[in-house]
Amino acid sequence: MSMDTKTLVDWVLGSDAGFWWRFAGVAAAWALPITLWVSLVGLISIWLERKISAHIQCRLGPMEVGPHGALQTIADGVKLLAKEDLIPDGADRMLFALAPILAFAGTFVSFAVIPFGPDLIITDLDTGLYFLAAIGSLEAIGVIAAGWASNNKWALFGSVRAATQVVCYEIPMGLAFVTVAAVAGTLSMTEIVEQQNGMLWNWYLFRNPFMPLAFISYYIASLAECKRAPFDLPEAESELVSGFHTEYSGMRFAIFFLAEYAAMYVVSALAVVLFLGGWYTGIAPVDKALAASPLWGNVVGALVIITKSFALIFVQMWLRWTLPRVRLDQMMHLCLKVMVPIGMFVLVFAALWQALLPYAGALNGREALYPTLGSVTGLVVFLVLVIGGWMWVRGVIRATTSYKTANYRT
């Protein structure tokens, strides 16, 4: 794939078109489809969430509107549109109106650097990852503004919690970004994906023995960034009524809702790009064949990346409907005392692995073995982590089975 024509707009207009032409081109070619796509992602994930939660909970979920309730979300959207738009007395009206837009914009802009296929990216910034890390915090500002502007104590609690949580979890998330950047040697999204070409074990998830840890740390941090369970403290409906959007109704609430689900897609797609091989299927011959045809490469690539993202979204939902919520201090503890040290450790050792090992004496003359060594150890560590985690959970559960002892009396 050529790096000359980076985007569709460049391809159509040529890179020497005037600013306003390019602006209009971007708007027409990208902003509109992305808006549609964000809405579609929202619709699909809200429906998925309903169905998945329902099936986890031995229910059917929405069944009436459309086949298996597929149009329920649209019906709800229409309902929300028709609802009265309430602004509480004493609210900061301007901020109150601005907050949902801010929250949504933060997520929306992130789509600019998230690729859908080898050529399907709005702008492949050289600093794509950096841009994402920077713009991703915008949503938190919207949330904080919402809580503050509502003039409601519960909303204020929610927004303060959101601020605490997002600021905390930016750190492990950023560390995971830096780890990937250190291994990849670039911040450009497409380049990061291209480096994961080849078989499954070429993905950054398995690139070296520390990357599985980086992935898990990123995934947990992304749950917190999206305010998903077990880190749904800013909303915490049983504690804070609805948290920061307690006072929001109608369309403003719907925008918050949409922003949340769009953010879920963003973090999942990012995880796919950074760790799970982006648009590559993980089977080298298939990828090679696809790369030969730009059309099929992009179409299948987009399908692959979307499928992988929705698989991660499914895990997010699965976790949400299984786990209780952690408490504020436990959330901070997990971040600052567990995940930040792990992130640091991973960053340092991944960097060392990347920079030093090829030149260490041990590999002298056998540098070709180096990627294999990384992949094998990466796979082993990944399996150990998964199996160890599973056994740990079983162990905790089994420790509770003391209920089987007949005599409860002290």
């Binding site: 031995c58 609690f157 919520r325 408490r327 997990l334 559960i397």
Partner: protein, 389 residues
Amino acid sequence: MLSDSTRTNAVTSGSADLRTEEMLLNMGPQHPATHGVLRVLVRTDGEVVLDCEPHVGYLHRCFEKHCESVTTLQSVLYTDRLDYLTAMGNNWGFCMAVEKLYGPELVIPERAQYIRVICQELNRIASHLLAIGTYGMDVGAITPFLYCFREREKILTIFEHICGQRLNYNYIRPGGVAYDVDDAMLALIKDFCGYFLPKVDEYDDLLSGNDIFVQRTANVGVLSAKLAIDYGCTGPVLRGSGVPRDLRKDQPYGIYDRFKFEVPVGRGERGSVGDCYDRYMVRVREMRESTSIVQQALKGIPAGEIRSSKIKAKVRPPKGEAFTRIENSRGDLGFYVVSEGKEVLYRVKCRAPSFHNIAVLPEISRGSMIADLIAIIGSLDIVLGEVDR
């Protein structure tokens, strides 16, 4: 994995130049976690609860006043509305007080006694299922709630078949029960017991053994045995504090002395004795014990009458005063009845367990966080219907 220091101290000092302010927070009467219309006035410093004060009375329905104006038999109907999750127990408690007025000559038929035990224990399971389910929801786990409702639904269906009602049964009447139970029904109950026990293991997997759940509940809201007794707490709240008091064992009413069962008490398995986890665990274990009691009762149930012939259609208790208590799912439910020998009772006073259990809230929630306060209210498992009466 998570923090060990689960109890946060109220830190108000901070640095000298950081001005902090206390905040007065009004939780309820409409709040998702107050289990009804409880209103708790919370004084907080940030997320730390400095003090709280429960305000009750939003669901006051003049139960005692009603009982002074309707007949004794009609009053049974009003008792359903007290602790609406254990209406069988309420019926029984009230009827027991009325029956005590009749003196020892009044003998409740054997079959009625067995039916009462079966219904009461099934109702206890249903009530504990709801308590556990909503407790999971309070700490953020929504799925166990629906699992619990799946089982509760089966019990309610059984009750619907027995007495035509799913919530307010009005089934246990002075002198016996309202309708007989047929064999098909007993077989259904037997099936339910076999079905239910493995399900309890499921809750243990989802909640009791969940590390986040343990971290959220262990060492939170520690209620000492002394404080619990001083506040008159009973039921799972008192037993969670390690006091093995259960009226079914201590003063066996009905025919409870014929059954073998254990009284689970809190042992501080994951934290200290009397924390939220202990109160929760007591309920889980009581469900197993109740199932065992139902199974034993099903084996022993005889044929025969279901109502004593001594009590006529017009219930007119003899002159006197009686105070009786039963072990309801939330604690000792007592009725103090005064009769003038008329069809209408002179005075009925209800001693509601939740009324005592919620009063202890300020004592055990000081210095905890707002999230803990929710966990504590949930672990006390109050029903505002009987707090406010």
